[in-house]
């Protein structure tokens, strides 16, 4: 524990953006009046979308949205790490490389040439990678997008000086708690819930549809069993691969499951 200082100052917080849709920053911007309350409790030194711009002052906590996908990103994330006591990666892009990680298996240079008439002007690395591939990350908040309550829980834990709570359990547990009928058992829908991390509140099954894995892999995810279940529901191996290769395609557990399906090593 740090000894209390004579003139306690408000914690300094920064929100940084890398390659992303901006949706996780909205967990702050959609807080409503709580945003003003939060602004009174912290010193928001950098948050370009909201206005404050100062990436060089040291902060107590840096929230990082987005994946690393350019040369300049590599330098920027090092700079942020060096200026932050605690670094928290928020959302699928920052924790797994995000939906744009789908390009990692493709020929990115060729894609650029197909799209842009001045490909030499496009600075883009071949791969989209999570923050933890480059610097030490103190806490990862998974989800596409992370939710406001999740984000506030992390902020409150840090303000109280305790470690944020990690919930790596499966979406299935949330479904059961809410009492939603299992879409896979009752309707034969290929649901990713058994291998997907909890946190959303089982939103998709609440509407009678399949979870599509936007919170990334849960702990101890049995992807072999789920792949076998998908096959028995009539999914082709290609369709099953697409289930694992979506929002969090580069999360190691989902990537391994897809690779196994591609090489046909499932029985």
């Amino acid at each position: 524990m740090n000894a209390p200082t004579e003139h306690p100052r408000k914690p300094r917080v920064a929100v940084h953006k890398f390659s992303s849709c901006d949706g996780c920053q909205l967990a702050f911007l959609n807080l409503g009046e709580d945003l003003l309350t939060l602004a009174g409790r912290i010193d928001l030194v950098h948050f370009a979308e909201a206005g404050p711009l100062d990436p060089d002052t040291g902060v107590d906590v840096a929230f990082v949205e987005g994946s690393v996908s350019t040369q300049e990103d590599l330098e920027r994330i090092e700079h942020i790490r060096a200026h932050s006591s605690v670094l928290i990666a928020i959302g699928a892009c920052a924790t797994s490389g995000g939906i744009q990680g789908l390009r990692n298996q493709a020929n990115g240079t060729e894609w650029v040439a197909q799209i842009y008439s001045h490909p030499e002007a496009i600075a883009s690395l071949a791969r989209s990678t999570p923050i933890s591939s480059h610097v030490k990350v103190d806490f990862e908040l998974w989800g596409c997008p992370v939710s406001g309550p999740q984000m506030l829980a992390v902020v409150n834990a840090l303000l109280l000086g305790v470690a944020p709570r990690d919930n790596a359990d499966k979406v299935c547990t949330e479904c059961k708690r809410q009492g939603y009928p299992c879409v896979m058992v009752s309707r034969g829908i290929a649901c990713m819930g058994p291998v997907t991390r909890a946190g959303c509140g089982a939103l998709c099954p609440s509407l009678g549809r399949d979870c599509y894995g936007c919170y990334g892999p849960a702990e101890n995810a049995n992807t072999d069993a789920l792949a076998a279940q998908f096959a028995s529901l009539g999914l082709t191996p290609e369709a099953a691969v697409r289930r694992f290769q979506s929002i969090n395609s580069q999360a190691p557990v989902f990537r391994a499951a897809a690779d196994k399906l591609r090489t046909g090593s499932h029985d």
Binding site: D22, A50, I99, I115, H118, S124, C144
Partner: protein, 432 residues
């Protein structure tokens, strides 16, 4: 002070816009030598990784193009695919798509007005500072934004990357109790939105007058949001399938977003373009309030965009209320779909303007190729043109800080969503 000075202004990171952009301005001997809006959000290749995907996956994937306007991407995609597949939506699904979309307009517009644009006009750096001088107005804005989010949540279970839309309708229908509760909230928000229009109209704005073509969707009866043809202020009306014949995209090396041209010239999309073209479709009560503000339409002053957004918030509240008023749940929230091979095109009005999608599909219902033209890449050429004219009108002799602030104000009028702007991919390779 010399009259003919040379300055270089670089705004390395534009703040209070969505995504990453920068502005370079070089003035030499009293004239603009260089002016570039640079978009450097790294490309995310959406169109490429949609290839090979099944049509059922498209709504969840395209939502990820933009966290602020996911509904626009989802609804445009399903509209295009439903047209190709010959799907007849249930009237309930038709109406609720519009209500769902209204939620996004309310959310996105209120976020933009209060958190991104308004601070400029009160000498504040951000909304937190603005909340110190105008606490009631900022709180009102955050409440309206919250209501928009709730409306999206009602049909999508969450407002960022909602999960409710499917080709053929919605996955589920909200229970009646939640609809009743929503109607009360929408009704209570009407006077707040009216006050918001008066507040935005009372903010002193620069007087600017520029000639530009407005482009927006047109519908025979409604103020076009989730469906309609494409109309222009010089009289063109075309279906979504003819977009390519009139609008052309080009890559400029300084930007990862492509520039669009209409018959060889830049054009405007977004709230001001819509209100210019579709003012006759506004409900009477909205028209009356707009008349009170003294803003004459069509307007050639881009600074009226702020009021246009406030007007569209009120319109969206009225529309949502009207469509939820005699609500009854559907027999089924979706109809079955049989895919067909062919080309699907669709267009809707994203909060920032016209959004156009094109999908080439195979007979199994998988994507062969995809093209998405978002509003910000369409506005990009217009923003640069506007900056040039507006700066000359403002006067180049102002101090650097004043010039920079003026440029930022101009850019924010367009509410550029730079995250979206970079996803545009051209499949026809052009080399120069």
């Amino acid at each position: 002070m010399t009259e003919r000075r040379s300055v270089a202004i670089h705004v390395p990171v534009l703040t209070r816009v969505e995504g990453e952009g920068a502005l370079d301005l070089r003035i030499e001997h009293g004239e603009i030598a260089e002016l570039r809006l640079r978009i450097f959000e790294p490309p995310r290749f959406f169109e490429k990784f949609l290839e090979g995907r099944h049509y059922t996956e498209i709504p969840d994937m395209v939502a990820r193009i933009c966290g602020i306007c996911p509904v626009a991407y989802q609804v445009t995609a399903v509209q295009a695919l439903e047209r190709l597949f010959g799907v007849e939506l249930d009237p309930w699904a038709h109406a609720m798509r519009r209500v769902f979309y209204c939620g996004e307009w309310i959310q996105s517009h209120s976020l933009h007005i209060h958190l991104l644009a308004a601070p400029d006009f009160f000498g504040c750096d951000n909304a937190i500072e603005l909340a110190r001088i105008a606490p009631d107005e900022v709180r009102r804005g955050l409440r309206i934004q919250g209501l928009g989010n709730e409306l999206m949540d009602l049909f999508g279970a969450r407002s960022v990357h909602p999960v409710g839309v499917r080709v053929g309708g919605f996955h589920g229908a909200p229970p009646l109790a939640r609809i009743r509760d929503m109607r009360e909230k929408l009704r209570a928000a009407l006077p707040e939105a009216e006050a918001l229009i008066r507040w935005t109209a009372a903010i002193p704005m620069p007087q600017d007058d520029q000639a530009f073509v407005s482009v927006a969707t047109r519908h025979p009866n409604d103020y076009a949001i989730e469906r309609g043809d494409i109309g222009t202020s010089d009289g063109l009306v075309i279906g979504a399938d003819a977009f390519d014949e009139h609008f052309v995209e080009r890559h400029e090396p300084h930007s990862t977003a492509l520039f669009s041209h209409y018959h060889g010239q830049p054009y405007l999309v977004g709230p001001l373009a819509r209100i210019n073209l579709n003012r006759d479709r506004l409900p009477e009560e909205v028209k009356m309030l707009l008349a009170e503000t003294g803003i004459a339409l069509p307007s050639r002053n881009i600074f009226h965009s702020l009021v246009a957004r406030a007007v569209e918030i009120l319109l969206a509240l009225h529309e949502a209320l009207r469509l939820l008023d005699d609500y009854r749940g559907p027999d089924s929230p979706w109809v079955p779909v049989t895919p067909r091979a062919g080309v699907a095109t669709g267009c809707t009005e994203a909060p920032r303007g016209l959004l156009w999608h094109r999908y080439e599909m195979d007979e199994a219902g998988c994507v062969i190729s995809a093209r998405i033209v978002p509003p910000t890449s369409q506005n990009q050429g217009r923003i640069e043109e506007d900056l040039r004219l507006s700066l000359l009108n403002f006067g180049l002799d102002h101090p650097d800080d004043a010039l920079r602030l003026h440029c930022e104000k101009v850019i924010r009028n367009y509410d550029p969503c730079i995250s979206c702007a970079t996803h545009f991919l051209r499949l026809n390779v052009e080399r120069t």
